[in-house]
C-alpha cells in the first residue's frame, strides 16, 4: 500500500534538549497507527512536528510524495489535509460550540454557512454534543470540551487525523462510542495517527503500534505482536508495568 | 539661589522678598539666560537667570521697596493663579491691564506703552504697506484672546484667519505661507524681524485704533494690595526717556540679538 506520510530521520531539539532523535516511520493510506510510550517520551512533539506546529530540527516529512519541509511548500495547503485533536483541546474561546466547528470550514474550505453548520451538527451529534451548540468553551466539562475538539477536527473532513490522547477526558462509555466512530472513519479510508495511554484502546483500534521511548521509536509492529511478544527490553518493561496494573 | 524652591517661601507682605512672576520667554520683555550677563537675576529654584525689560523694571521696584528681588518662572496661564494664591507678590511679565483682567487682579500704573505693528514676509506683497487698509484681502491673524485679534476687523476686506494659540505658531504659519501677516507689538516685531531674515515688520502711519488699556503694560497685583501705591510711586520716578533707554538696551541685549 502507498504511504501517505513518510517520516525520515526526523529530529527535534528544544535548545540543548533533544526531544526527538532520528525518527523513521511511515503511515499508509487508511492505516491506523497508535503511538504509545511513557510521559515525556516525545509523542505529542512528534504529532506536532507532523503538522509543522513545531519546526523539526532535521529530517524529512514526505506527504503524497513531496517533502513538505522543502521551503517551496505551502504549509497551510498541506495542513488542510490533516486534522488535529490537541491534548489540551484548545477550543476557540471566542466561539461557541457550533462556531468552533464551523469557522474553519467556512474560512479554509470556503463552505457556505448552511453546509458548514450541517456538517458540524453531524459530527457534534456523533460525539453527543449537538445539544450544546450555544455553549461557550468555558461552560463545558472536560469531556465535553474534548468531544467538541474531536468534532471540530472531523468537520474539516481531512485525509489524515492526528489525535493526541483523544479519550483522556472521556468516560469509558464515551471512549467506546468514540472508538466506534473512529473505526467507521477508518473504514472510509481515513488515515489516523493516535497517541494514547489506553492500551486496550490501542489494541482494539490500531493496525500498527509504535512504542516511543526517550525520543526514539523503540519498537513498532502490529498490535498483537507488540503487546504479546515485544522484542525490546524497554517495551517489555513498559508493558509489564502497564498490564499487570 | 535666594530660597530653596519657588513654592516654599512664604510670600506675604511682611517678608523681605519681592517675588515676581514671569514666563522668562517673552523677549525682549523677559527672557532666560545661562549666566548673569547684563545684570541678569537668578531664577528661583532654577539654575538659570532672567533678563529683559520687565526684569530691569522689577529691579527698580524691589530696590524702591527695599526688598530682595526673587524671580519665579511660571507659564503665562499660571501667573494670575500664582498671584492670587500668594505664591508671588506681583506679575511683571509684559501684561496689559485690560478691563477683563482687572476683574480678578489690580494693576499698577503703566510702565510701557507700545504700538501695534504687522509682521510680514520680507519681499512679499505687503512689505511696503503704510496703512492698515493696505492689507485689504490679506490673510491676517493674531494671538488668541488678545486685543491684537479684535482690531483686525478694522481692516476693510481683510481675510481674518482663525486666531492662533501662540506666537511660535503664527511665525510658523507666516513662514509657510498659510497667512500673510500677524498683528503684533513693536518690541516683538523688532525682535522677530531681527531674528528671522525672512520676516520684516510693518509700522503704520495710519494704524489701528486702540485703547490705552490694551497697548500699555503694567504690574499685576493682588486685589487691594498695599503694594500698589508704593509701586506706582516708584514707577512715577522712572522717566519716559529712561524707559525707552531700558527697552532699547533690552532689545539689544536679548539673546536673539547676539
Amino acid at each position: 500500500m502507498e504511504a501517505v506520510i513518510d517520516i525520515q530521520g526526523l529530529s527535534k531539539s528544544f535548545g540543548s534538549h533533544e526531544v526527538l532523535k532520528d525518527i523513521n516511520f511511515s503511515v499508509d493510506k487508511g492505516e491506523v497507527v497508535t503511538i504509545i510510550g511513557s510521559s515525556g517520551s516525545g509523542k505529542s512533539t512528534l504529532l506536532r512536528c507532523v503538522n509543522l506546529l513545531e519546526k523539526p530540527s532535521g529530517g524529512k516529512i514526505i506527504f503524497n510524495g513531496e517533502n513538505i519541509l522543502d521551503n517551496k511548500h505551502d504549509v497551510h495547503q498541506y495542513r488542510r489535509n490533516l486534522g488535529m485533536v490537541f491534548q489540551q483541546f484548545n477550543l476557540f474561546n471566542n466561539h461557541n460550540v457550533l462556531g468552533n466547528c464551523v469557522v474553519g470550514q467556512m474560512k479554509v474550505l470556503k463552505r457556505s454557512k448552511e453546509e458548514a453548520e450541517k456538517i458540524a451538527l453531524k459530527y457534534l451529534k456523533v460525539v453527543g454534543m449537538d445539544s450544546f451548540v450555544n455553549a461557550k468553551p468555558r461552560q463545558l466539562s472536560g469531556g465535553q470540551k474534548q468531544r467538541v475538539a474531536i468534532a471540530r477536527a472531523l468537520s474539516m473532513e481531512p485525509d489524515v487525523m492526528l489525535f493526541d490522547e483523544p479519550t483522556s477526558a472521556l468516560d469509558p462509555e464515551m471512549v467506546g462510542e468514540v472508538l466506534r466512530v473512529m473505526k467507521e472513519l477508518a473504514g472510509t479510508g481515513l488515515t489516523m495517527m493516535i497517541v494514547t495511554h489506553e492500551m486496550e484502546f490501542a489494541k482494539e483500534v490500531s493496525d500498527r503500534v509504535v512504542f516511543m521511548d526517550k525520543g526514539v521509536i523503540a519498537e513498532e509492529g502490529p498490535p498483537e505482536r507488540i503487546f504479546n511478544e515485544p522484542t525490546q527490553e524497554r517495551t517489555k518493561e513498559f508493558l509489564k508495568r502497564t498490564l499487570k496494573q | 539661589g535666594t530660597s530653596d524652591s519657588a513654592g516654599s517661601g512664604d510670600s506675604s507682605g511682611e517678608s523681605d522678598q519681592f517675588r515676581i512672576g514671569l514666563e522668562a520667554g517673552y523677549a525682549p520683555f523677559n527672557w532666560t539666560q545661562m549666566d548673569d550677563a547684563n545684570a541678569g537675576v537668578k531664577i528661583d529654584g532654577n539654575a538659570e537667570f532672567a533678563g529683559g525689560y520687565d526684569v530691569e523694571i522689577a529691579k527698580k521696584i524691589a530696590e524702591g521697596l527695599g526688598k530682595e528681588l526673587v524671580i519665579v518662572k511660571t507659564e503665562w496661564d499660571g501667573l494670575v493663579p500664582s498671584l492670587n494664591s500668594d505664591k508671588i507678590d506681583a506679575i511683571v511679565a509684559g501684561m496689559s491691564p485690560t478691563a477683563e483682567r482687572k476683574e480678578s487682579i489690580d494693576f499698577s500704573d503703566n510702565y510701557y506703552k507700545s504700538d501695534l505693528v504687522m509682521v510680514v514676509k520680507k519681499g512679499g506683497d505687503f512689505e511696503n504697506a503704510t496703512s492698515i487698509q493696505d492689507f485689504n484681502g490679506a490673510k491676517v491673524t493674531a494671538q488668541l484672546n488678545t486685543f491684537h485679534y479684535s482690531v483686525i476687523e478694522q481692516i476693510d476686506g481683510v481675510s481674518q484667519q482663525p486666531a492662533m494659540d501662540s506666537f511660535p505658531a503664527m511665525r510658523v504659519a507666516l513662514e509657510s505661507g498659510i497667512i500673510d501677516g500677524y498683528v503684533s507689538e513693536r518690541p516683538e516685531g523688532v525682535s522677530a524681524s531681527a531674528a528671522n531674515e525672512n520676516f520684516t515688520m510693518v509700522e503704520f502711519t495710519k494704524g489701528f485704533e486702540t485703547s490705552e488699556d490694551d497697548t500699555a503694560i503694567a504690574v499685576g497685583l493682588k486685589k487691594d494690595s498695599d503694594l500698589t501705591e508704593k509701586i506706582n510711586e516708584i514707577l512715577a520716578g522712572i522717566s519716559e526717556e529712561e524707559r525707552i533707554e531700558i527697552m532699547d538696551a533690552a532689545i539689544e541685549n536679548q539673546p536673539a540679538a547676539e
Binding site: H76, G83, F86, A135 | E100, L144
Partner: protein, 253 residues
C-alpha cells in the same frame, strides 16, 4: 468663580461649546477607530512567522523595521509638532493646503495607531498560544487565524486600554488648535478670553470633557458585557441530556 457667570457663559455660548465638542468628539472618535485598526494591522504584521525563504524574509524584516520606526517615531515626538510639520510642512514644501479637520483626523489616527500597536502587542502576548496553534492546525493561514480567532480575543482584552486611548485623544485634540481647528479646548479659551472668566469657562469645559469621557466609559463597559456574552447557555434540545441519552437518540445515525 460664580454660578451666575457659569450660567451666563453657557447660555450665551452653548452653540460654540457644542460645535467645539462636536469637532473634538469627531476627531477623537475617528482617530481612535482608525488608530485601533492601524494597531490591529500592526499586530497582524508583527506576528507573521518568519518565513524561511530569503526574499520574503528580507521583505518581512524590512516591513517590521518600518513598523518599528513608525511606532517609535510617532510615540516619541509630541503630537503638536507632528501636526505642525504635516500641516505647515505640506503647505511649505508642496504648496498643498490641507483641510485642517482632515489633517487633524490623519494626525490623531497615525498617532493613536502607534500607541495601539503596542497595546495590541500586549494583548496578543496574553492570548493562549494554543488558540493560535489550533487555528493553524485546521489550515488557517496567518491572517485568517488572527482575524477569526486571535484578534477577537485581543480586542476584548484591550478594550479598557482602548477606552484610555479614546479619552486621551479627546483631551489631546486640544493641541490641534495649532493648525486652526476650533476644537473644544480652543473654543473654551476663546470664550474665556472674551469674558476673562477663565475659571467659569474652564469649569464648563471640564464638565463637557467629563460628560464625553464618561459616556465613552459607559458605552465601552456595555460593549464589554456584550462581548462576554451571557454567563448561561441555552441547551438546544432537552436540558440535561448527557451522553447516553444522545447516544440512544443518535444510535440510528
Amino acid at each position: 468663580m460664580t454660578l451666575e457667570w457659569i450660567f451666563r457663559i453657557v447660555e450665551q455660548y452653548w452653540p460654540m461649546f457644542l460645535r467645539g465638542a462636536g469637532v473634538t468628539l469627531l476627531i477623537a472618535l475617528i482617530g481612535t477607530v482608525l488608530g485601533g485598526l492601524i494597531g490591529l494591522l500592526a499586530g497582524i504584521v508583527r506576528t507573521i512567522p518568519t518565513p524561511e525563504r530569503g526574499l520574503k524574509k528580507i521583505g518581512l524584516k524590512l516591513i517590521n523595521i518600518v513598523l518599528s520606526i513608525y511606532i517609535e517615531f510617532f510615540r516619541g515626538t509630541p503630537m503638536i509638532v507632528q501636526a505642525m510639520v504635516i500641516f505647515y510642512g505640506a503647505a511649505l514644501a508642496f504648496g498643498y493646503h490641507m483641510n485642517p479637520i482632515i489633517a487633524g483626523v490623519v494626525i490623531v489616527s497615525i498617532n493613536t495607531g502607534a500607541y495601539m500597536a503596542e497595546i495590541v502587542r500586549g494583548g496578543i502576548i496574553s492570548v493562549d498560544k494554543g488558540q493560535y496553534e489550533a487555528s493553524q492546525a485546521i489550515g488557517m493561514n496567518h491572517i485568517q487565524t488572527m482575524m477569526n480567532v486571535v484578534l477577537p480575543q485581543v480586542i476584548r482584552n484591550i478594550l479598557p486600554a482602548t477606552g484610555n486611548q479614546f479619552i486621551i485623544n479627546i483631551k489631546d485634540t486640544a493641541v490641534l488648535s495649532v493648525i486652526s481647528i476650533s476644537e473644544l479646548f480652543f473654543v473654551t479659551k476663546t470664550i474665556a478670553g472674551n469674558n476673562y472668566r477663565y475659571f467659569e469657562a474652564f469649569f464648563v469645559v471640564c464638565i463637557l470633557y467629563f460628560i464625553m469621557t464618561y459616556t465613552i466609559t459607559l458605552i465601552l463597559r456595555y460593549v464589554e458585557r456584550r462581548l462576554d456574552g451571557p454567563d448561561n447557555y441555552v441547551i438546544a434540545a432537552n436540558p440535561m441530556d448527557t451522553a447516553e441519552d444522545i447516544k440512544r437518540k443518535t444510535q440510528g445515525m
